[in-house]
Amino acid sequence: MSYCVNCGVELDSSAKKCALCSTPVINPNIVSVESDSTPFSETLQIPKSVKKRFIAFVISVTMLIPNIVMFFLNVFFIRSGFWSVYVLAASLLIWVLFVFPAFTKKTHPYLLWGFDTLAAAGFFYTVFRLHGTQIWILKSILCVTALVSLSVLLLIIWSRRKNRHWTAVTVLVLLESTVVSFLSGLLVTLFSQNHSFLVVGIVIACCTFVLMCFFIYCNKSRNVRAWLNKAFFI
């Protein structure tokens, strides 16, 4: 029979330390006990989790079936153009973006970035090849895709160097959005010779820039944070 010198409670004969304060039990008279005579079992029951790969496989098959059906319908029955290619391209884009990462245990972020960029560029190119007439649209979309992709790559490189706080990540995302919006507006204007795109780009860039400044200010000022909490509590 052991008592905790700290809590004054009697401890079970199998206890190696006090369950209340973790004070170790030092009692030379205690003989070792079998696991069966401990009050609680040592076996922990943790349910098996459903495998990610299995779910990804089921989703892939579910996505594949309507695509095959539509392809055959397009080839043999409703032969008005290659409309099924739209569905195929969109499905492929969704699959690469959301389902493919689940197939690997830990996908390398650069590999994932490469696949996602290719899938997005491929989707836009396919859609343009089927119905596009003006080459400036294709050029603009591919350039904007490349810009967005580049900014994502920069974010990945920067955040992988060391663990960044979520506030720093938010600031960088807003900064990148500002730059990408402005450059996209500029590029589309160059290709289309329509200045309204530049205006739209500048407006979006200004908004994200203001948002970024406000976020930095809130993050630094405790008073503003307190006022926001007070004024906008739910």
Partner: protein, 427 residues
Amino acid sequence: MKIYSNEKKGFWLKLDNAAKIFPGQNSKTWSNSFRVCYELTEKVDPIILKQALTSIMPRFSCYDVQIRHGFFWFYLEKNENTPDVLPDIKNPCHRIKFNENGRFLFKVYYHGNRIAIDVYHVLTDGHGGALFLSTLVAQYLRLKGAKIPTGGFVLPIDTENTSAELEDSFVKNATSKAKYKRADKFVYHAKGTKMPSHTVNITSGIIPFDKLHELSKSKGVTVTEFLAAVMLQVLCKKQLREVKKQKEVSIQIPIDLRRTYNSETLRNFTICLRVKVDPNRGEYSFDELLEQVKYQLRLQKNEKELNMMITANMGIERNLFVRALPLFIKNLGVGISFAVTAEQTTSSLITNLGAVDIPEEMRKYIDKFIFMPAPGKVNAARCGVATVNNNLCITFANVYKESDVERDFFTAFVKMGLHVKIESNRE
């Protein structure tokens, strides 16, 4: 009186009023289940235990069931499988998945001298669980050669369920015309480091019942009121240590309604009362806490007040709009409301099963009875209390790594001069 057997073709049961919310609260990591456990004086033989379980199952038609989805409500129907006995696990009240465990909603475990049952709250409450386990243990002892008569919590197994045992007593007793206002504030929750999913820290303290009863009697309160006051004191002190801005501390105390309404049901028939104190009004001494608990609890614990609460609960179930909603929408609503408000209005829970009444011939084979509630989601430590053979066993289920609530609680009794023995699954 009608006799019911689930051997009859087409046997099915509606979920009782309290049970209706539990399936909606179910998640991948948590279910509202509780554990009742007998510690015997001898090591348990699993083969005989299995035989005992098989022989008592026909007596408990309402537990020999599986849960099914209807279009509007869940329902229970006869389970054709045979329940199994399993070696005990370190993390009791493990989450219930409806298609596991032969679709049974309870699990029978054995370990060393212990026979335990984890019961999903859809089936019954602590009283029903204790009846089932006591009958199982009595049958186990009979098969081992002991002569155990029926009586108290040990039911005769050669009879069949009566309509009174299978009734939803909430429906029968919801007759109040008064309106009940639910106006509970969000209260204090003890802080701590969460245990990983599917794990729980259990700490049992065994206290001599006669000494505690004497002590509580000298203060003019019941044992439950005394324990609730100790718990309130522990949580108030913990809050003072943790935060500057003090919130109300509230303790949930489930009350068995069987005696009040003369019910024999084997299904859920409890209602949760709350006692609370606001530390902003000043520091409460232990005697003041005892008074607060005593008056608050006794004010709520009368037939008219309880009837009003039951009727309010039944009102939701009887609402035509609610009834017409498909089950998945009801589940979604229950899940969201549980996540947002349920445990937010209580700081902890104390559920006292009271003295487990077993035949005198059975007492010599029994060491103690353990009753453990489901671990909370945000409630730090919830505790269940049960007494048998003068051993009052208080069991905490804690989802936090820290054991300060349990320590403060049990050392309070040590300081009062009571002997406390601790058993735990902590490493």
